[in-house]
Symmetry: C2
Subunit: 327 residues, 2 copies
């Protein structure tokens, strides 16, 4: 126990000294399923907390092919050139199945990988999106304690992962292409609603004219959505990550967003809301899993579903029966 | 106890004899918060179950102004004219606030109200959509035991109520108007995805041309959605409830749907899925409310949120703390 405590203390000191090796080790502890590691991770997180929360957390989404990696590389380099320290994390709902990650192939961000002011961490794998999300949120805290000014959370434009990312970032950026309709781009309407800014990427060469048309159309479409809780009017902007165009504009929009929402106190309010959401969510998931994972309940649930199938019970009578077992 | 049992037995017998007064009394028991009434309701439901499940359950939604009441009246009269018995229920998420109901004003369905083969019941009020949904589902069972062939569940096109209705019906009908865009009609895209048929109402007089254009557009739009689990290709049809046009077509579509999905076994499969969904949902809601409603947890939750606000804990550490109290 003494050794662990010493290790934790020295890890925390190293993290606060911006030691990337220590940061990586702490993230590995956060991701571990081993209970000793988990306990150590919790100790480290607690010690890091007072030094966290000072970054800008940016969610970036867009379907495969939109140029996310190229964008993040250009965006990241723009920030590190200003002396900012940038961490790139990922939420990848498919990683639990493929055991891979969209950031696994770091060669796609060659320049950023080599940058001393950048830290790229492939997404944690896990059995559930909830588990992956917890690890990512705890990793954010560690990265912030390690002095990263900007945390980018990348996700692919499928499934529930955008909602998850949206619930852990300050600013949500949606990358799109001009020309292709929403359906073709596989973007759900709910995701457009979450965006604080839509950036139309690959707005270069012959594409520029079409991109400008798309910009006008998106601006009009966004006006139809109800006002955001942040009172922020989402922007639509053009960029070419490949040609390094429009990247600075996006960063300026984000700075404007942070300034405006900090002044209105929405920024702080939103972070507390997100924390409360994750607290409640974690408790609820644990309650469910505690209940349904006992052998007694598993067996009874099967029997009750059988009774439902034969019209011998109602869902509500069956629920009462199951809850009675637990008590 | 003996008296209650006798009452329950005679109520069940009367319900099975299609006695509307007995049916209404049983529904009132289902809706009651009194625990004796609840117990009696459960006894009655259990006795009714073997006689239930034989109707076609139809969900109908559409924003205010689309002509839902007029449609349900015309549709209901069409069915009772064929000797069918029709029950009309409602899920109204606003009823818990206004204590009113979209069906409260029965004068809007004058002819159907007077029809001996029709039964109209305003929506149950309740603190939560979940509570209202439970009462509605139990009311469906009672109506089926009372020999109703068609159960219509109406809802207004707002909030979560469509999803709730969709999870308790066999067939989901969306009423729309021609001319107005989705945004203006306040219809969320998810609702269009749930529809088994879209009926463009008020397709009469000068409106017919526009309604036909809307029909073509909707047909094209529906093709972009992924295939339904039922493998049913949603239809788009025109009607004028006011002029009693197109009503028979819609009923024929529904009959076709029931025939097709019964043959493919999706119909039965879907009902079991819905039952299982409601079982799990009920257990989960009860687990949450049991946990969070204890004074100890309420107090601790407040304290933990305070700690979150001061960056002194993480949502996950706070969750672990709360779950530790319960154990």
């Amino acid at each position: 126990k003494r050794k662990t405590k010493l290790d934790s203390n020295s890890l925390v000191t190293s993290i606060l000294n911006q030691d990337i090796t220590a940061l990586s080790r702490a993230i590995t502890l956060v991701e571990s399923k081993n209970s000793t590691h988990k306990a150590q991770a919790n100790t480290i997180l607690k010690a890091c907390l007072p030094h966290a929360n000072k970054s800008v957390r940016i969610g970036i989404t867009g379907v495969p092919g939109v140029g996310k990696s190229t964008f993040i590389e250009a965006f990241g380099k723009h920030l590190t050139a200003q002396g900012k320290r940038v961490a790139v994390l990922a939420i990848d709902p498919s990683s639990s199945i493929t055991k891979g990650s969209i950031l696994g192939d770091k060669t796609r961000m060659e320049a950023l990988v080599k940058d001393d002011n950048a830290f790229i961490r492939p997404s944690a794998s896990g059995d559930s999106l909830g588990g992956v999300a917890r690890k990512t949120r705890e990793t954010i805290i560690l990265c912030e304690a390690a002095g990263f000014d900007v945390i980018i959370i990348e996700t692919v434009g499928v499934g529930q992962s955008e909602t998850t990312v949206h619930s852990m970032v300050d600013f949500f950026l949606l990358l799109k292409l001009s020309g292709a309709g929403d359906e073709l781009q596989g973007i759900k309407r709910g995701i457009i609603e979450m965006a604080d800014t839509i950036a139309i990427n690959k707005a270069d060469g012959d594409n520029i004219k079409q991109a400008k048309l798309a910009q006008v159309e998106f601006k009009r479409a966004l006006h139809l959505y109800p006002e955001k809780a942040s009172q922020w009017q989402p922007k639509v902007t053009l960029c070419s990550a490949l040609e390094n165009q429009g990247i600075e504009d996006i960063w300026n929009i984000i700075l404007d967003y942070v300034r405006t929402t900090t002044k209105s106190k929405y920024f702080q309010h939103n972070r507390l809301e997100q924390n409360t959401f994750w607290l409640i969510q974690t408790v609820e998931n644990q309650l469910k899993s505690n209940f349904f994972s006992t052998p007694k309940i598993k067996k009874a649930l099967k029997e009750q579903i059988q009774l439902l199938e034969n019209n011998k019970t109602t869902p509500f009578a069956a629920a009462d029966y199951l809850l009675g077992i637990k008590d």
